[in-house]
Amino acid sequence: MKLPIYMDYHATTPVDPRVLDAMMPYFREKFGNAASRNHPFGWEAEDAVEAARKQVADLIGANAKELIFTSGATESNNLAIKGVAEMYREKGNHIITCVTEHKAVIDTCKKLEKQGLRVTYLPVQKDGRIDLDELRAAITDKTILITIMTANNEIGVVQPIAEIGAIAKERGILFHTDAVQAVGKIPFDVNALKVDLVSISAHKIYGPKGVGALYVRRRNPRVLLAEQISGGGHERGMRSGTLNVTGIVGLGKAAELCRQDMEKDTERLRTLRDRLNQKLHENLDEIYINGSMEHRLPHNLNISFAYVEGESLLMGINDVAVSSGSACTSASLEPSYVLKALGAGDDLAHSSIRFGLGRWTTDEEVDYVVDKLTKVVRRLREMSPLYEMVKEGVDLSKMQWVTH
């Protein structure tokens, strides 16, 4: 087993060697510009881009014509939300989203609010999912877009996308989903889910960084977007800029591999994740899973280890790459807003660890992480004034803390 162990597959994933092999020729001999219409270099590049479009479309049950390539999901989210807000301004000025969305959605919505749009940020329930009745109640005749992520990047909680899609359809509202963490990992079909816009990122599915896609429905309804980057009119005028051919080829290959291996990968990862969860629970008391276990990505686990602080925990397992929702690990000194939104108390946010398993995670690695974490949690609890107080019977919630 090689150290350090990577267990942070929600942050990014390594490029699969098969993906890299597919990309290589497009750096070398097949270096053409996909927009060059009058020589074989251009044709070759264009063919490769169109093949990749098909590969991505196949992964999500779409038509290849409905995919636009971007620089990643941050751009896809921006294009979807700003593009709809601008294009459908006449129709309405209200967007519905949710508090646990990725910053690329939240901050885009905040920016639109400054420009006069109204945004509703739905809360989530204890399990991390939105309440569909609250969604229905938030809809007005000015609502033009609902944007709710498929799976959360911290807690892995999967939202009721098909139900949201049905509500949106019924009310004639466009539905965008940031599906970065879900596409390629769990079944996702744009028609079954009734989604109109879908953000995808290559580097979360074993493809390269800096490339992504946006699915834009063409029929039933035909979705129009105001371009956010102007120029040569590439990608049906919705996203100008010379296409990142190597990246797009990589995204396509990555999508194809995910489609081929999804069932097998999912089963394997779920087993590994459950083993991680079960062993941690066997070894340690007072550990709490953040978010729904039932509606969760198979490769995600997010646990709070009560009475120990996340950064000190990470320091003790420094040969394991995971992340924490603790404030001490963030530049803002604010604990994870996603965990806070679950309402479990900030103290548990400070004590949380996110595990993201992936294609190269092994049994051996899981066992190593369990072992190491158990030792460190025990050691830090011996050092924790909170643990001591609880053992003495003090109710921490009734304490008057001297804050600074």
Partner: protein
């Protein structure tokens, strides 16, 4: 973030972890921070009533590596100091000794606060012991 060697050393080999009997009149206990903020420090000193010198100090900390290191270092520095000398310890000295980056300065502030709170508790208990009124609960926030 990369940690300084001294922070790592205190994290891996914390000095003086533990607890002193908090009802002892010669023991002062400081408890600062809050779980919601991600940091709680408990620091205790035991003062020799004859000499006024701190002959033992213990800590327990819930917090990041820098918070653990700051409190561990504080207990080292406290031993052998008089109460007045202890009150002169500044957080900036902890920052310098541990090479803490700017975002971790508040961890050292917390350690200074914990020292002050422990000494204040000790003084309060001494005054109460000398006075007529029955010794009240220690200065720890009551449950």
């Amino acid at each position: 973030m990369a940690y300084s060697n001294k922070v790592v050393d205190h994290y891996e080999n914390p000095r003086n972890v533990g607890s002193l009997p908090k009802d002892d009149v010669n023991v002062g206990t400081g408890l600062v921070g809050a779980p919601e903020c991600g940091d709680v420090m408990k620091l205790q000193v035991k003062v020799n009533p004859e000499t006024g010198v701190i002959d033992d100090a213990k800590f327990k900390t819930f917090g990041c590596g820098s918070a653990i290191a700051s409190s561990s270092l504080a207990t080292e520095w406290l031993k052998g100091k008089t109460v007045e000398q202890a009150l002169a310890i500044k957080n900036t000295e902890i920052v310098a000794e541990l090479s803490l980056p700017p975002v971790k300065i508040h961890c050292s502030v917390l350690a200074e606060d914990a020292i002050k709170a422990a000494i204040a508790d000790y003084k309060k208990k001494q005054d109460e012991a000398k006075g007529v009124q029955p010794a009240a609960e220690h200065a720890q926030p009551s449950a």
